[in-house]
Structures are given as structure tokens and as C-alpha cells.
């Protein structure tokens, strides 16, 4: 499912990223620890987390992660947004909690999967 379409399902705000990137997301992974996030990071995975430190962008860069979704309406720091923009990583901010964001995104992906098959 296209990252922008996925973003609309949680009514998230998009902070950074490239308009060219209609990158396909097939998995989401939520965690608040860096090791968990890097272990599940991949080029088709949206990472969901409450962390907004810039190392998250480095992880996204290393693992070719297309986007990161922050939760609970917490606005990212300008530095975080700038680094994400530089790396071409889309940043979404969800109004929902970590768990609710994760559930909603997973449901949307399942629905998209069923619709496409």
C-alpha cells in the first residue's frame, strides 16, 4: 500500500519526505527500542515509534526504510525533520497512541492485501 494512502488511514500529518516517493509499504513494526526497530527495519516497512532522536533517521538510511510514524501527536524536533528530509525519509505523526496506530495501520494493510488479491 502506498505510504501516503496508509498515512491517510490514521489521519496523520506528514512532516518530511519526498513527493516522488510513492513507496509501497507491506509491513509495519512498532517499538520504542532502537535494537528492535533496526532488527525489523526493511525497505517495505513503516516503523512506528515514540522515539524522535536523529539516530532513528540514520537507521532508516542504513536499512532503506521509507518512513517513520511518530505517535500521540508529538511533533518532531526541527532537527529531526531536517535530517529526515535530507535522507528522503517520510515522517508521519499519528494522533493515536502507539498501540492504536499499529492496529489501525495493520488493519489497513490487511484490507489492502485482501482487496488486491
Amino acid at each position: 500500500m502506498d505510504i501516503h494512502a496508509l498515512a491517510r488511514t490514521i489521519r496523520s500529518i506528514e512532516y518530511a519526505g519526498s513527493p516522488r516517493e510513492n513507496r509501497e509499504i507491506t509491513r509495519v513494526h512498532a517499538s520504542n527500542t532502537m535494537s528492535e526497530l533496526i532488527a525489523h527495519a526493511a525497505s517495505d516497512t513503516l516503523l512506528v515509534t515514540a522515539l524522535d532522536n536523529c539516530q532513528l533517521i540514520r537507521v532508516a538510511e542504513l536499512m532503506d526504510v521509507p518512513g517513520i510514524c511518530l505517535v500521540s501527536n508529538a511533533p518532531p524536533s526541527p532537527d529531526f525533520v531536517a535530517k529526515a528530509a535530507e535522507a528522503g525519509t517520510t515522517i508521519l505523526v499519528s494522533p493515536l497512541s502507539l498501540e492504536k496506530t499499529m492496529c489501525t495501520l495493520r488493519d489497513a494493510l490487511k484490507l489492502a492485501d485482501r482487496t488486491s488479491t
Binding site: E14, Y15, A16, G17, S18, P19, R20, E21, N32, T33, M34, S35, E36, L37, I38, A39, A42, T49, L51, N53, C54, Q55, L56, R58, V59, E61, L62, M63, A82, A85, E86, A87, G88
Partner: protein, 523 residues
């Protein structure tokens, strides 16, 4: 071969940079997919261990045909109980690190999980040494996507006077000069006009001119205005328009219309894209970024370059588009398999038009659009010319242009309108245009066309399809480069000692071609 990277303890801003450099090196020799992924996880986790716990450290990556061996040694406190440290959830990380999401006790287990062989050696008060070995044999067969060739460059080596200027002008170092004259390393060529503009012997140019289509009724001609300015050379441009009509074209459009449309789209996107945002105004710039500055790929706008957009703009009409450079000629040639789109070389169009505008104009029977150019805001920077563009891209890569909103780049000095294929000088072209352009009509109908193909790093420079061979070659190039005198004199026919070393190792040159180090050097 061995690569090494320094890691500074406590520096969270630079943390991960060693792993990022390792990724670039591994990609060059063809490591990809699951192996690259495992290497990145192991390397990043080990690097973060140094940053979180130690004063300083070093990451070594040793490569041979079968394995990638990562070794990370630090000057840190050491681990009192290794057994405990390898258990998931056990950590001694600081509060600062935990606040950032580290210190979950998953680092060492993550490294071990992603290694085929894992070793750890530690001394309390002295430091820790971790070794993670990943077998490359599981790597899926490497298929090298061939670099999309930008080569539409015709070379007449017999005309070469061996002035060597092209050798040092080429922005990608693609030219070699041998005893039979210049040759071009095809995967390196980005199809710009640097060599064409520099060579006074007309060694370089576009391939044999394509003939104009026979039936031009209703057809649209798209040209950069510099082409018209060069043809008119100060006299009335109306004569040229009349000649265009006599050839059978129904309409003439300027390539600058699509440039303006692209800039409008780019300016509208500036808020949420990486800075500096680079609109793909020039096909050769796109190829240059994809080959020499791949880290800037996210900065490229998601549209076709203007002249390619123009080719797509008229789905139901016959269109003839004038190519200003080998890159455009190649790009448009790929889509011109139908009868609808015709790619013209400047010489063939000029030869067809000249006999027709000898007579005085009889009246205005064709109009020319006038393109209003916005000066843009002060945060926009326009750079043209190969030498300046290379410096600008290097600065952007180093992060020095993060305050620039739009970086407008063209490899031809003065842009497409000042291509040396039809313009002797960018300043003169502008003067001719001002003098000869009588008709004005504002048109804002051009649009932008999204790219169908995503940007991707051009891998034409990969050393060998076989990873083991690539590793050996990279190592041999490194050794040979150090043995060469470093004069970058061009006497060997390559633009520099590093390029010559690569040529020798790749079998494209002999070590004896270097007159200064022939005796000492062997590949």
C-alpha cells in the same frame, strides 16, 4: 582487503556514520539483499556499543571471496560478565542512551543473531573486541543492472590533435586518449557537452543526423530558444519562423516553457523535500547524480527533465524535439520508436532551415511563445558549467547547501539554450535572442510529467560481477594508486593516477603507459 573506520565514543551525532560508509563500500562491490542487511545490523549495533560505552574505537571490515569479517575494537570499560551481556534485556547503558531508545540489552544478541561466526573478547578497564563474520556465499546471485547508457556521443578520433583538454574537462573522467585518439568509457559518460564544447577540432558530436520526417502537417517543433538565437545571429527571428512554417510545422514551442513548468512544480514542493531540492532541469545532471553523487538522489525532483516532458505533452500530434546534448538525444531516442516523436539533431534542423530563411519575411504567420522567467527567491541557487556543477554537488553532498531551497543545475554553461552544439557562447546567445526576438505571446500551457522510472544509483562503475573478483580489484586499485606518482598529468591517457590505476587493474591500460613510474608499477 581491509577497510577501517574510526568511531568516537559519546558522539551521538556522528554515530552510525562508519556503518554508512561501510554500506557505500559494500554496495560498490555488489553486496546487497539479506547479506547487506545483516552486515548493517551487526555493524550499527557494534558501532553504537562503542559510542555508548567507550572513549574511542575502530571498525575494520575485511573482505575476501567468501566472507565479510567485521571487527570492532574499543577503548572502553570492558564487560565484567560476558555471559550476562549476551542475554537479551541485560544492559549497563547510561540514562542518556536509554532515553534515546538504546540500552534495551539487545545489541550484542542482535550482532550474534546476524553473524555466522561471533566472537567477543573483553578485558575490564581495557576494552572490548567483537568479531562478526558473515558468509557471502549465501548471497543471491548478483545481477548487475546495466547502467542506463547516456552514450549518444559520436567520436571522430582521426581529428584529434592530442591537446588533452577533453581529458581534464570531462566531469566524470570518462575520456581516455590512446595512440588512436580519444575513446569514452561508456558506463561513465553522462552525455553532457563538456567535451563537445572544449574540443576545437570537432572530435565529439551527436551521431549521424536524423532526417526530418517527410510529413510534418500539423506537427509541433520544440526547440530551445538558444537554437533560434544562434540561427538568427542578431537578425529578425521572424525569418526563421517563416522557414519553420515552410518546412511544414504547424506550431513552434520553446523548451524553456517546460523548464518554467518544472521550476513552478519544484517551488511548490520546496517545503517538504530534502534541501537543496534539485529539479531535474538537465538530463545529464540526473545521470551525474545517479553515478557520482548517489547520496543526493533523494534531492532530485520526481519529474522528467523538461525536454522529455515536452516529448510527452502532445499525445495525438506529431512532435519533433531538438536534442541539445548527447544525454537528451539518448533519452528521447528511447521513446521515439513510434512515428509520433522525432528527435532532431541541431545540425540536421539547421541545414533544413537555412535555405528557407534566405528570403526576407513576408509577414507574421507563426508566433513564438514568450516565457516569463521568475528570478526566484534568494534561497535559490543556479549553477551551470561542468566545473561549477561538480563543486556545487560536492558541497550539497557535504551538507553545505542545506539552506538552499532550489539548486538549479545544468551541465552546459548557460543551460540547454547555450549548448555548444548550436551556440558558440552563452552570453552571445542571450544577446542574439534579445536582438532578434520580435514577437511576444505569453503562454503557460506546458506541464510536468512524473517519472515512470525511479532514480537509482548507476552501477556502471561496479568493478566485477563476481564479488570476490571485485574485492580483489578494489584492493589492487588502492595499492596501485599509492604506488603511482600522483601527478595527474594525463601522459598515460587517463585523467588522473586513480583513474589510470583502475584502467590497469581492469585491463584497459598497461602499467608501462605511465612514463614516470613504469618500472616500479605492476598491477
Amino acid at each position: 582487503m581491509t577497510l577501517s573506520y574510526r568511531i568516537a565514543g559519546g558522539d551521538f551525532d556522528s554515530a552510525g556514520l562508519a556503518t554508512r560508509k561501510l554500506k557505500e563500500h559494500l554496495a560498490r562491490i555488489g553486496v546487497s539483499g539479506p547479506i547487506l542487511r545483516r552486515a548493517m545490523i551487526a555493524s550499527y549495533e557494534a558501532e553504537m556499543n562503542v559510542v555508548i560505552h567507550a572513549k574511542t574505537g575502530t571498525l575494520w571490515a575485511r573482505l575476501d571471496d567468501t566472507t565479510l569479517d567485521l571487527e570492532i575494537a574499543d577503548e572502553g570499560p570492558g564487560i565484567p560478565n560476558v555471559e550476562l551481556a549476551l542475554r537479551e534485556g541485560w544492559s549497563t547503558a547510561s540514562a542518556q542512551a536509554r532515553q534515546m531508545g538504546f540500552g534495551a540489552g539487545m545489541g550484542l544478541p542482535n550482532i550474534r543473531r546476524n553473524s555466522d561466526l561471533f566472537e567477543i573478547e573483553t578485558r575490564v578497564g581495557r576494552g572490548t573486541r567483537i568479531r562478526s563474520t558473515i558468509r557471502l556465499s549465501q548471497q543471491e546471485e548478483v545481477t548487475i543492472p546495466r547502467a542506463e547508457s547516456a552514450m549518444a556521443l559520436a567520436i571522430s578520433p582521426g581529428r584529434c590533435r592530442r591537446c588533452m583538454r577533453c581529458l581534464f574537462t570531462c566531469p566524470t573522467g570518462a575520456i581516455r586518449i590512446g595512440s588512436a585518439g580519444p575513446t569514452v568509457r561508456e558506463p561513465l559518460c553522462v552525455g553532457c557537452t563538456a567535451c563537445i564544447g572544449e574540443c576545437e577540432s570537432a572530435v565529439f558530436g551527436l551521431p549521424a543526423p536524423r532526417l526530418l520526417p517527410r510529413d510534418l502537417r500539423g506537427a509541433v517543433l520544440v526547440v530551445p530558444r538558444g537554437f533560434l538565437a544562434g540561427l538568427s545571429a542578431g537578425s529578425s527571428i521572424q525569418r526563421i519562423l517563416q522557414a519553420v512554417r515552410r518546412l511544414g510545422f504547424a506550431e513552434i514551442r520553446l523548451a524553456e516553457e517546460w523548464e518554467a513548468a518544472l521550476l513552478r512544480a519544484a517551488r511548490e514542493s520546496v517545503g517538504n523535500v530534502p534541501r537543496p531540492f534539485i529539479p531535474p532541469l538537465c538530463s545529464a545532471i540526473v545521470a551525474l547524480v545517479e553515478s557520482r553523487f548517489p547520496s543526493l538522489i533523494p534531492h532530485l525532483g520526481p519529474w522528467l527533465p523538461p525536454i522529455e516532458s515536452a516529448g510527452e505533452e502532445f499525445p495525438l500530434r506529431s512532435v519533433a524535439v531538438l536534442a541539445s546534448c548527447p544525454s537528451q538525444y539518448a533519452a528521447l531516442g528511447k521513446t521515439s520508436l513510434t512515428d509520433r516523436l522525432h528527435v532532431l539533431s541541431p545540425s540536421s534542423l539547421a541545414d533544413s532551415l537555412r535555405p528557407l530563411f534566405a528570403e526576407e519575411p513576408t509577414g507574421a504567420d507563426m508566433s513564438l511563445p514568450d516565457v516569463t522567467e521568475s528570478t526566484g527567491d534568494p534561497a535559490e541557487v543556479a549553477v551551470s558549467g561542468a566545473r561549477h556543477v561538480l563543486k556545487a554537488l560536492a558541497a550539497a553532498e557535504a551538507g553545505a547547501l542545506a539552506d538552499v531551497s532550489l539548486l538549479r543545475l545544468s551541465l552546459c554553461e548557460g543551460g540547454c539554450s547555450a549548448s555548444p552544439l548550436f551556440c558558440p557562447d552563452a552570453q552571445l546567445s542571450a544577446r542574439f535572442w534579445q536582438a532578434g526576438h520580435g514577437l511576444r505571446e505569453t503562454r503557460d500551457a506546458a506541464g510536468v510529467v512524473p517519472r515512470a522510472r525511479a532514480y537509482a544509483q548507476r552501477v556502471g562503475m561496479r568493478l566485477d560481477p563476481d564479488m570476490g573478483q571485485a574485492i580483489r580489484k578494489l584492493s589492487a586499485i588502492d595499492t596501485l594508486s599509492k604506488a603511482l606518482p600522483g601527478r595527474d598529468c594525463g601522459a598515460c591517457g587517463a585523467p588522473g593516477c586513480a583513474a589510470f590505476a583502475e584502467d590497469v587493474v581492469m585491463g584497459a591500460a598497461g602499467a608501462a603507459d605511465c612514463p614516470y613510474a613504469a618500472k616500479e608499477v605492476s598491477p
